[in-house]
Amino acid sequence: MDFNTILQLFDSAVRLSTPLLLACLAGLYSERSGIFDIGLEGKMLAGAFAAGAMSAYAGMPVTEGGLGMTWGMAWMGALAAVAVSIVLALIHGFASITLRGNQLISGVAINFFAAGSTVLIGQYWFQSGGQTPPLRGAQRFEAITLPFAKTLEGVPILGPTYHDLISGHNALVYMALLAVPLTWWLLFRTRFGLRLRAVGESPEAVDTAGISVVRQRYVAVLIAGVLCGLAGAYLSLGTSAAGFVKDMSAGKGFIALAALIFAKWQPKSALFACLLFGFLEAIGNRYQSIDLGAFVVPVQFMQALPYILTVVILAGFIGKAIPPAAGGEPYVKER
């Protein structure tokens, strides 16, 4: 395997892990506050559709009933994705925080709702089997070339690494990567983070300290909504898909959940867990089948790798992952 191939694999891993990372961090905020969120998948999917639809609408000529924008359509799309995802997050919050309902059921409901409604509305608006029209140019998030990428390209090893791996991704990739240290800082260095972690471990302690449990949890769920929306926008506007396709989240929300458990709810570990999943997916995409001499590893196996790892992780092969103590339980004041 030559250096270039390795670079390309890593580059691809970064791209593929971006939506996982955004969703994983979304889950981290939510679960750290004590709200389990298996609706990451649904929020992502709804976000992807909203982004695709809004971007298409914004870029459509005025004569065809669109907004006729020539730049910033992708950002309009991302905004729409975030808005839709927040609405779903608030529904989850209302069900599980205010109404103290079952968080798993609420999450499942959101997943089903997103899977069905995106196709239904997509078909109604665009009449192409639930897909949005193909997006081009500023309707998508375009690659950003970091300064000096071209000049440094000639430098051995470092040049190509900088040019191919570090530079040349779109804005959402960099946002996701920056969100990791930001999340760490918020969680462990600020008052907000202290209260967020506390409310997931011991809501009664938070309550008796004179802090609102409900408010703290809503804020966490809201942040999860924003991050899931961005993850969705990345799927439809930041990948080669160039638009929304039915069920395009393809279980990424669940893989993000597995990565979250794998990372034991730590932001830095979440980055590495998501990169690992992204890397496995990259290998699966690149090597359709691997000839080991004695037998050939079939392509289906390679593509199934991330999902197999998910099962392995969830089955507890990574040692004991202790979730936030109050996770999944509605807070009822009693005495």
Partner: protein
């Protein structure tokens, strides 16, 4: 207010110092249940004030109102002479009220510092608040004998230290009034003594302390004044120096009760149950029991003292057939009994071993079942309850339940009432009635009076003594040292899975047992 009335009132307001807490006509009901009825209470500044009352008397509700957990339906709260509205915990903290809850309100994976600052951070960034708290904690440690490692993880501290963190939390918020709800329930006697020293210190510094407890000994030892609550009402407030434990007990129950257990000297027979070298290692590899050997004789009550979690529960579970042993042997009348995982509670009962479990809610009763069902539970296959065609004889069970209800004074007397609708004392009576009435040779009793009111405690103790007087053997496990001392004919103390010592109740005292409970052998160290 006119000038004239102001003049008139002046002597009153200028009178010594306004009381720290003044409750006027506070009432609170939950649906049809009136938890607090027209409560008046005054606590002087710098006093330690005790509130005693049975479970469900309304003590905790009253304090929850004061701490803003509940809002009173009616009434007025004055702090330092000023009427205030306590809408939530935040308002209570602002009014200078701190509370140490019975179940600690701590975030276990956090450090002491993080727990202390939470809710009183002082700024959006943690670092300055942590530094400030570190400094203040060091000062408080010196001032009040409250040293705790500020960087320790709270979940790894002993309960005594966790309680200190709770007190530190309140002091860090500059509380002038400290409410402690059943603070000694989880402490060893030595830890409790330390707590009382801290409270005295706080009092000397001018803090006002409200101590809620059902332990009259503590009230007598540390309080200046004491209020008694019964059925939601404040029935008396007296100076501690002018009352006695037995008078307070009568006030709590509303009739005369005896705190001492009256019993004749034991008529000890031969060994019924013999435990030899019993060991238990749990699933996590923790050694819960290390080579336990003991003999239980007919006609005696063998008390097992110890702080919760030192192996007593494991011993009880193995003897009662709920759990298996790792190694060792148990002989019942010379014949060995099954200690593997194949053993069951039913097999033990066939051998004549009855069991009153430590946790009656989890193991003693089926809470949504009716009394007559709970009263035969585990004995429902007995021949007297088998009717025609192998069906249960409903009529026999019902008559049996009625008999138990009468004999054990279970109230209400309705055999169709659900277990969950009884008070703790009456629930416990159902369990005890079931086990004693089946006439066991050995009765294993765990925490017989946990969460049971004084009147019922008296009754339950009498029943246990009566069983022993019939020549039965009783193994009593209790974390209440007073109870072990009062009931037992012989006492063993468990610490960290071993029997730390054996004493006769007449030849020992709480101090000595307390040291054994903490793993110190007074004879060895002397």
């Amino acid at each position: 207010m006119s000038v004239e009335t102001q003049k008139q009132r002046q002597p009153e307001t200028a009178a010594p110092v306004a009381p720290a807490i003044e409750l006027i006509g506070v009432s609170k009901s939950f649906g049809p249940v009136q938890a607090n009825k027209d409560i008046d209470m005054t606590v002087a500044k710098g006093a330690i004030h005790g509130i005693v009352g049975e479970n469900g008397a309304g003590k905790s509700t009253l304090m929850s109102i004061l701490y803003g957990f509940y809002k009173a339906d009616a009434g007025e709260i004055k702090i330092d002479g000023v009427t205030i509205e306590i809408t939530d915990s935040h308002a209570a903290i602002a009014a200078g009220i701190g509370m140490v809850h019975q179940h600690f309100m701590l975030v276990k994976p956090f450090t002491v510092l993080e727990n202390v600052i939470m809710g009183a951070e002082g700024g959006p960034l943690l670092r300055p608040s942590l530094n400030k708290a570190r400094k203040i904690l060091a000062e408080l440690a010196v001032e009040y004998e409250l040293d705790v490692d500020p960087d320790a993880i709270v979940g790894e501290l002993s309960v005594g230290f966790q309680q200190r963190v709770e007190i530190l939390k309140a002091l860090y918020r500059e509380a002038d009034i400290l409410i402690l709800d059943e603070p000694t329930g989880v402490l060893t006697p030595a830890e409790a003594d330390h707590l009382f020293r801290i409270l005295q210190n706080l009092k000397e510094q001018g803090k006002t302390i409200v101590l809620i407890t059902h332990k009259l000994r503590e009230i007598m030892a540390v309080t200046d004044t004491v209020s008694v609550m019964r059925r939601g009402q404040m029935t008396a407030t007296v100076k501690t120096s002018e009352t006695s434990a037995s008078e307070l007990a009568d006030l709590m129950v509303g009739r005369h009760v005896t705190l001492e257990v009256e019993k004749n000297p034991p008529n000890v027979g031969e060994t019924v149950l013999e435990v030899k070298n019993l060991c238990k290692t749990d699933g996590q590899g923790v050694k819960k029991l290390k080579d336990i050997s003991l003999q239980l004789k007919a006609g005696e009550i063998l008390g097992v003292a110890g702080v919760a979690g030192n192996g007593q529960s494991d011993l009880l579970e193995i003897l009662s057939g709920i759990n298996s042993a790792t190694s060792g042997e148990v002989l019942m009348r010379g014949e060995s009994i099954d200690l593997t995982h194949k053993a069951s509670a039913a097999m033990r009962r066939e051998r004549g071993i009855g069991h009153v479990p430590e946790d009656r809610h989890a193991l003693g009763l089926v809470m949504p079942f009716q009394t007559w069902e709970n009263a035969v539970l585990g004995y429902h296959n007995n021949p007297e309850f088998s009717g025609k065609f192998g069906l249960a004889d409903h009529k026999a069970m019902m008559e049996d339940a009625k008999r138990k209800i009468e004999k054990f004074d279970i109230r209400p007397t309705n055999p169709h009432l659900l277990a969950m609708n009884y008070s703790g004392g009456n629930q416990q009576k159902i369990v005890i009635a079931r086990e004693i009435e089946n006439n066991p040779d050995v009765l294993l009793v765990g925490q017989p009076t946990r969460g049971v009111d004084i009147g019922a405690i008296e009754f339950i103790h009498k029943q246990i003594v009566a069983l022993r007087d019939q020549g039965k053997a009783v193994l009593l496990i209790s974390v209440e040292l007073e109870e072990v001392l009062a009931l037992s004919d012989r006492i063993i103390v468990m610490f960290d899975g071993v029997i730390q010592g054996e004493r006769m109740p007449k030849e020992t005292n709480e101090q000595e047992l307390g040291m054994l409970m903490a793993g110190i052998d007074p004879e060895a160290s002397a």
